[in-house]
Amino acid sequence: MLNEPEEIKKKKVEWEENTVQPALKRFLLTESPTRFYTPADVGEIDFLNQIGFPGQYPFTAGAYPTYPYRPAPRSGYQGAPGLKRTSIYAGYGSPEDSRDFYLEMRERGQKGGPNLAFDLPTQCGYDSDNRLVRGEVGKTGMALDTLRDFEVLYEAFVGEMDLDRIASNFTVNADSNIVVAMYFALAEKRGISPDKLRGTPQNDILKEFIARGTYIFPPKPSMRMVRDSIVFFNKYYPKMNINQLGGYHIRAAGATREQELAYSLAILIAYLQEGVNAGIDIDSFAPRFTINSFGGSMDFFKEIAFYRATRRMWAKIIKERFGAKKERSMIIRQVVPYCLMGNENCTVQRPLNNIARSLVGGIASALVGGPPQPYPPYDEALGLGWSLEALQITEDSARILQYEAKLTEVIDPLAGSYYVEGLTNQIAEEAMKELEKIDGMGGIVAAIESGYIQSQIAKSAYERQCRIDRGEDLIVGVNCFVGEGELEVETNRLVAHPYNPKRREDAEARQIENLTEVKRIRDNTAVIRLLNELKVKAKNNDENLFPHFIECAKAYVSLQEMCDVLRDVFGEYQSPGL
């Protein structure tokens, strides 16, 4: 540094007295609403060790050394080779409905395999004909009960788009192994060899206990299933990604960004440990861990700093705690960083304002090395399934940020900023403190079993709501700038979303018919035998259940039938109270 920090500090005091104070007087302010940062605030920046070059340890500046994304003419970014992206997250109704939806989107130019949303019964291990789940079948995604349903869905993916040419994404967690086993069974039936299959199950059960809620079994047997997935993929399905991690749901549930980072790291550590405990070399499976998303907020600079801190800490943990040697084991493998403004900050009031809000996230996303993703579409809060107008605006916003504002031409442009480097360090330090606390409790599984994580998140969520209700945290059009003189700008969704509302309404009835037929014509003697065998195998913790799940899938054993056996053996998770 050319100027000594002490000299800068001295001059800053003089500036405050001689320049700021008179200005405050002139502008009738009692105190300054702004801050200013100097080199003295951040001290000596160790560029090579703390920031480094993009695409190199510690990855603070970026996961990749260059900007790898290529825009598709429609439907946003297709990614680059190796970052091949599946379609937009979608799915609804019966498998027929989802199949037809994907075919329709293909006609609109959307390539790629399915990025499949499942309904809640499927995610929670229930069949569509279970009375308990009435009203839920096919609502938040596609209903999946047996292999037959994947056979129908994947009628949209044949020939040039067969399973060896596309990648599939499955947002499923507690029963991820069963769903993936059905996918493997389908591939077997189609004569596609395991080493060609590409896909990514979310397979991140630990966050379900603390944020998202689609758990089935208690944490320990759930970790056994995670182990099964790591070992089985590593051995037989080398092109499958093992999971999609990231604290997106944790932040959306109310965690602060430091909590999100700490809990995400603690969860990562637990999963990596399963692979290590199973005797697999860290560099052999860690590169198969991916990231879904982290969370965000409207606090622009803090979210940029958060991403930088997250990349650095992620890499450090994998290198220092687990001794990884390959850089590919340490990077945050994410299709795009895309929730930087925090989806939950979208408002129902004056929904077009969400365009401005998502732009904040899109710009932040560009400045942390991603494509500018002004996400979500403005009608996020209006209901499940976006309008095509909102999707078009989102895509155009991304194009404007990249081609008109040229935001992606410089990687990590805020590197070296006295403010942002200081923020990055601060967030990393606070997250580290919370992570060490969890280490002290014996790790994330213990912290979940004790209810500690859940109560921390609920507390943060409540504190945020109190700040909103007190008017300390401002949300435009909701708790400020409302009333007389303000226009309640509304919006109409004119271009119907390709989810067919009528099909969505009667999907449940049709899927129950489908399932009844499957159960009628399958070999029910074999089903009973396979379920009995499953019970025995489940009781043996050392046995990998994947091969048996695949056998069950091929015999059209249903998702719930398998889960019920596991419920019997593993128990069901009981959530702690408030």
Binding site: V133, K139, T140, E208, T214, Y215, A253, T347, A458, N479
Partner: protein, 133 residues
């Protein structure tokens, strides 16, 4: 309801939707506003909710759903209350309820729907003003 008896509220999430941030925040907020709140949690069937409401002798049931299954689940709670001849419990709801669904739910007996952006204070004031004495 005597002057000393606090308003008793059951907050629960029917169905499989696990997004419980709002439900928890409302439960904590109403507690801070002097009500006795029972947090029923997620994965409650309508039967379990009504049973808990009776057991806990609540004045208000608050239902939360973000998964789109409200059109079945909320009226089902009303049906069960009717079957058990419970008439003096106010049922309110929230979550992600599309505008076009609200009047249908009110016809089935849901007193009010509170969408995103509602302050917990607003909900507390509504309950205080409208709960059966």
């Amino acid at each position: 309801m005597g002057k000393d008896r606090k308003i008793r509220v059951l907050i629960a999430k029917p169905g499989l939707d696990g997004h419980d941030r709002g439900a928890k925040v409302i439960a904590l907020g109403l507690r801070d506003q002097g009500m006795e709140t029972i947090y029923g949690g997620i994965r409650q069937t309508p039967e379990q909710i009504v049973q808990a409401a009776i057991q806990e002798d609540v004045d208000v049931i608050g239902l939360s759903c973000l998964s789109g299954a409200h059109k079945y689940l909320f009226p089902r709670v009303m049906e069960l209350l009717k079957e058990r001849r419970i008439e003096d419990v106010m049922v309110i709801g929230g979550g992600i309820i599309p505008k076009e669904d609200i009047s249908g739910l009110k016809e089935k007996g849901i007193k009010e729907i509170f969408g995103p952006g509602t302050s917990v204070i607003q909900i507390g004031e509504y309950i205080t003003a409208n709960v059966r004495a």
